[in-house]
Subunit: 506 residues, 2 copies
């Protein structure tokens, strides 16, 4: 069985070994989650809010310890990691607010008519969810964070497969969550964490599991998706995978502020050493702007320093640069990598529009790390042809001269067909947690493009609608009962009804 080993990103040095979960421990966790699922589903969102806020508070109280462990394993630095703990706690509280507000339940009541029976429809929790966090956000997409918080807020037990890139961080987070949930009164089985590759594949295949949330590489996501598709009862795999996240500089933008854009682009694609799923990996600029050289100069003056999260990610980034060159890209600028630990040089490459348009595969795929391509487009047709050659992405950005740049509307419209989020004038790297956030994009950016792993709709992934026909009030779930005990917005007879400020029905 695979043992996780904690390693320092800065030196590569091996530390503590964490034993893989035994098959019997996997089964114990699955059984506990299955057994508690109905209990959890029957709790109110307000009750689950108390539990999750306890987890957020406990994690924040342990910030110093968490950051120390995570910094050793990830090399991401204290400032970033401290902010990430706070962000994780804030997200968790946000999901509990979303859950308590209740719109996500989609409660809909059609009273009986002469020709139709009484119907009530509501989103019900799916049951046990397997969470596979990411290496690059140990707190916001790790043992805790978006997936775990939104699944529990939605009323589903969670079993996490600890990420091998930061096993001690995962273990500490697991201990904090387990303790806080127990102290807050959450039932046994609400949360568990397992270790090791075998435990992860066993989870996805297990009949007790109802959904999978994954953030990571396309290879990893596809592997889990294939296991899930071979189950007797197929379950959804919400996998966030590779994504290029193109940036388009308009003619006006290039004319007015190319140096500023280049500097912003470098800041965005080298943030966290390019280890963001929202890293912009390709800049399209009008021909004659000499954008590749301008971006290259910006990289050289920024000279970003940092470490890669794992040895494999470092190797893949270095290999990726070589593959891009083999596929026809030219290195424009490269800054030296750190001298120890897991590293990759930050690199800007120039690529020909024609090579992208004819579908040169390696040039069209993500290169995870501080690596970006710059391409020049001769005219709108060539720009659109390059965009059409790209795969779906999580995000895309338009960099105009200003808000009234006449090229913006058409570009926003075109990009909206290819990504989950379009930004104008903003870099895509930051992902605010908010009601209106979408973090998911067309295949292969995510496996289920109608879903999001950040924002209010993150809860929706872990529910399924059920309609109750001619069902007595006492047998209805609370969200559909006449008294509206949870005080949630509902649609009754086709009309939206908001609850009164007192919390009862309007």
């Amino acid at each position: 069985m695979t043992t996780d080993v904690s390693r320092s990103a800065r030196t590569g040095e091996a530390g503590e070994e964490i034993a893989a979960s035994a098959a019997s421990d996997v089964q114990l966790a699955l059984t506990a989650a299955r057994e508690v699922a109905a209990t959890l589903a029957a709790t109110s969102p307000a009750q689950r809010r108390d539990w999750l806020i306890a987890v957020a508070d406990a994690a924040q109280a342990a910030t110093e310890q968490l950051v120390a462990v995570a910094d050793q394993e990830t090399g991401l630095g204290e400032a970033r990691l401290s902010a990430e703990v706070a962000g994780m706690a804030g997200q968790t509280r946000f999901y509990t607010d979303v859950a308590a507000e209740g719109s996500w339940l989609g409660a809909t009541l059609d009273p009986q008519t002469d020709t139709a029976p009484a119907l009530g429809r509501v989103q019900m929790p799916l049951g046990p969810v397997a969470v596979f966090g990411a290496s690059n956000f140990p707190f916001r997409f790790g043992t805790l964070g978006n997936d775990t918080s939104s699944a529990i807020a939605a009323g589903c037990p969670v079993i996490v497969k600890a990420h091998p890139a930061h096993p001690l961080t995962a273990r500490l987070l697991g201990e904090i969550a387990t303790g806080a949930l127990r102290d807050a009164g959450a039932p046994e089985g609400t949360f568990a964490q397992l270790v090791g590759f075998e435990a992860g594949t066993a989870l996805v295949a297990a009949p007790e599991i109802e959904a999978v949330a994954f953030t990571g590489s396309q290879r990893g996501g596809m592997a889990l998706w294939e296991i899930a598709n071979q189950r007797q009862r197929v379950i959804p795999v919400y996998a966030e995978m590779g994504t290029v996240n193109p940036v388009v500089v308009t003619r006006g933008g290039a004319g007015a502020r190319l140096a500023e854009i280049a500097s912003g682009f470098v800041g965005s694609f080298t943030l966290g050493m390019g280890q963001f799923c929202t890293k912009p990996g390709l800049l399209l600029a009008p021909s004659g702007s000499d954008a590749a050289a301008v971006v290259g100069q910006a990289l050289e003056s920024a000279a970003p320093q940092g470490w890669m999260l794992t040895e494999q990610i470092g190797h893949s980034a270095v290999a990726g640069i070589a593959e891009l060159v083999d596929a026809g890209a030219q290195v424009v600028a490269q800054t030296p990598a750190a001298e120890s630990g897991w590293t990759s040089p930050a690199t800007v490459l120039r690529v020909e529009a024609a090579d992208l348009i004819r579908g040169e595969e390696r040039l069209l795929e993500e290169c995870f790390g501080p690596v970006a391509l710059v391409v020049e487009y001769a005219d709108d047709a060539e720009r659109d042809a390059v965009l059409a050659a790209l795969q779906g992405s999580l995000a895309a950005a338009v960099m105009p001269a200003g808000a009234d740049d006449p090229e913006v509307p058409a570009l926003v419209g075109a990009l909206a067909g290819q990504v989950g989020r379009v930004t104008v004038g903003d870099w895509p790297t930051g992902v605010a947690f908010a009601w209106a956030q979408q973090h998911g994009g067309p295949w292969p950016a995510t496996s289920i493009p109608s879903a999001t792993s950040v924002g209010a709709a993150a809860l929706d992934r872990f529910t399924r609608p059920v309609t109750f026909q001619s069902t007595p009030d006492a047998a209805l779930p609370p969200a559909l009962q006449a008294a509206n005990p949870w005080g949630i917005p509902r649609r009754v007879g086709g009309r939206l009804e908001s609850p009164s400020p007192e919390g009862g029905p309007a």
Copy 2:
């Protein structure tokens, strides 16, 4: 290439042959749908309402002709088919109302704050949808009906693969739709219909197609799902497949009104000769109630008469009865099949709870046609074990003594975990189109259990959320513009806002 042949269900006689679409015609339809997709997506739901109402009106105006053709091909009878044309037209109008109301767009605006950019999120149409209708509802789930209407209402072009069980009905519906859409001003490419197996598989594999809606057998649904999963860019396949739809008679129900329940059960499972996806295929009754014999008597006095939709469906039903017997079921009652055409005897079989609990596969699977199993349960534990052994279903029914039967709440709760719709005291066969309807259930009843093919949420299948960050108003889709030009409900800063009655923003 496969040629569709129109055949009389009542006599088996072959009529007109309909040539399969040539590969070049398939590509023409795909290209037209792809080219019109952005135009369609940019139209308002109100504009699409006009087109779809024109289709509904034209179909209703042709009711006599449609029913004559469909009755010849399906043997379903004029009364049922006339009602179905009206139902299809009513559904179509309903989807246009849902689309125009606008909640389905999920328009959400988070204004800019000190720490977060302005975000706006909205559901956008996916693009061209391939529709594979069912044999059993030529109007409500055919060339037109739930899938086609909800997809166009959502702003997606539709390409239908004509059902080979009723090719002339399909052709006539296609002609009506094409003419009505053209006359109403819908752009070329909004709707097309293709003929033949090869055209169907080509559609699912085609890069132009963004989603598939299918209603039919598990074999057919899985085949399309597998093609879609092997695409370079995987797309969602919304397949409604096999389903058993269990009915549980409570002890009180058996004591108070078993004969009435048995008679209702026979009416429900032989409706349309059992060719409903919501046919109740298994009745669970308390032991000692002698329910199998009572249901058998009810079948004999009902003596249902009718035809099967196709030769294959008739053969499968007859073979299914034999397979059920081989797997341990005993025939309790059987009424004679029609003497000509495609037929199956209506049949009640008795099965032991133990055989279901130990997972005897054939007994746990749907037998499409006028065939049902009756099982007796000794106690709650055995009842629950039988229910747990079943696969997911579209629907389940509880048959209690009355609304205050104390067994109802727990049973409703248990069944809600296994199906998409629970009815109490009602038979599951009828599926009202309404805001609160859910027609979809856990795998394998449907491939995407979070979706529905009937009810307001049917539109959601054909959309994907996109978030617009820091985007100027003029570049936003209408649903997110400050003036709220479509007058739809929106969430702004986390609060739901209903439009004023005049249609402008509140």
